[in-house]
Assembly symmetry: C2
Homo-oligomer: 289 residues x 2
């Protein structure tokens, strides 16, 4: 039997999320805008607490944020409106894509087996219901339970951002517990994310796993260092209780794959579209290396 | 000013989930039927992998399971169909309620702050979008991050079932890590769930927190013992890789607030409604104390 040698190629079926993100971040800055149509934000912007109010909220953000590299949508604030909320989220995502922004679905999914395929069908890639570019995930059931989601993410150029360390105080009881070998749960998770990515993409491009690391020094810098060639989302920029220097210190200079999320720091300047845009521009300049 | 003394009453605005569940379990048995319209289940039942197929799947289950005390719906298998999937889930829940069954929303939610209110608006109680009686939750961000959801659950007679220990192997790396004082993360979580419930309901009725404890001995028996007066869901009944005796051994005799979930053990007898009903009846008899 003749063995047919196909030409070897390192180009996958689509560009990875890591490649897409680093290019875009270099062009537009690493700023990601958080989008949270919660009851309290709608009230502050003088909008009704229903799907119409949420749509108006999204519309203002879109008009202000045309040049932003990424938006992170907090899925429960859409899902709380039921089917209409998911419709709004799908439309909002489409419009973000028209502006060239990537969309991170902050849904913190965590489960096992087939549910991971269900989450991929819902959240990840152009063929999914919501069309996101990345989804956040929770590894309480073990990182291996999320592998199938990361595999699917890799196939469509999307990413799974695993919650490694969150900055809320309550999180310590789980995330700072001791793993078998003197590392914390968060440290072990970071190492496992990096190892799995490296095994998937040994040519040092980005694997489909990324991470979420809350900005609290010195832990955040240690964890980020354990995650080479992973897109690391660092939330908390612009929060009144968090120094900007502390957030930025989590990410070393020249690390082009960090994703720095700001929510209230920009949104509190709304609902005026011009004021939102000015605030966003100022933050973009501020974090540019 | 005259102070009006209202008659003191120990009756809350509504009966707690724990009270509702123990009564129903005593009447109907503690069996809970898992509902998972995944691609693979729809294929096995010769149904199309779309929302119509899922609706037909739900319809068969409803016809077979009119007398079951509770159903546990795996939310991602509905949500994967987008808005139409949520619509189907809301209708399915309504029909389960018409049969007097309680509905557990298996969504494994975990987040902080306002998102917990969003999850309550979506999942918990008659005023919510999906109208569930309980929702599963993930405490990777710390149990305190879920407190607001439990408070809301208590107000509407619903429950939050916290994943304490899951039976998948990958889960050990997080759930068996050592907390500060020689307890595992899972043990500490169980103790904290019980303590919080007790503080909410010191009269020894059920608080709004429950727990999910995967059936693996000896851990499961230890964890269940740490959770007095908590509704404890034990999944895994009828799975080919799990002995029924092991699942039942997790729950001591006479503990009326356990919730024993069976999924494939019943569903593999489908799609014939009569065969499903027969399998369900047989399992009900089998677990009756």
């Amino acid at each position: 039997m003749t063995r047919i040698d196909l030409p070897r190629t390192d180009v996958g079926p689509c560009e990875s999320f890591g490649e897409r993100w680093t290019k875009l971040a270099a062009e537009r800055s690493a700023l990601c805008l958080g989008v949270a149509p919660s009851s309290s934000w709608l009230a502050r912007w003088d909008l009704t607490d229903d799907v119409r109010g949420a749509a108006a909220y999204c519309d203002r953000i879109l008009r202000a944020a045309t040049g932003v590299a990424a938006v992170k949508v907090q899925v429960p604030f859409f899902a709380r409106f039921g089917p209409e909320g998911l419709d709004l989220l799908a439309r909002f995502t489409e419009r973000c894509h028209e502006h060239g922004s990537l969309v991170v679905m902050d849904a913190k999914v965590g489960d096992a087996d087939d549910t991971m395929h269900a989450y991929a069908d819902l959240y990840l890639g152009p063929g999914s219901r919501l069309g996101g570019d990345a989804v956040t995930a929770n590894a309480y059931m073990g990182l291996r339970s999320i592998h199938p989601l990361a595999v699917r993410a890799g196939q469509v150029g999307a990413a799974v951002l695993v919650l490694v360390r969150t900055s809320n105080h309550a999180a310590e009881e789980v995330q700072q517990a001791s793993s078998t070998d003197d590392r914390t749960v968060a440290q072990r998770l970071a190492d496992d994310v990096a190892a799995w990515n490296h095994a998937q993409a040994p040519d040092a491009s980005w694997g489909p796993f990324g991470a979420v690391v809350g900005a609290r020094l010195p832990e955040s810098a240690d964890l980020v260092a354990r995650l080479p060639r992973c897109v690391v989302e660092v939330p908390g920029l612009g929060r009144p209780d968090r120094a900007t220097a502390e957030v930025l210190a989590a990410v070393p200079d020249g690390r082009g794959d960090a994703l720095l999320t700001i929510t209230s720091g920009v949104l509190r300047h709304g609902p005026d579209v011009g004021a939102l845009r000015t605030a966003l521009e100022a933050w973009r300049e501020r974090i540019r290396p």
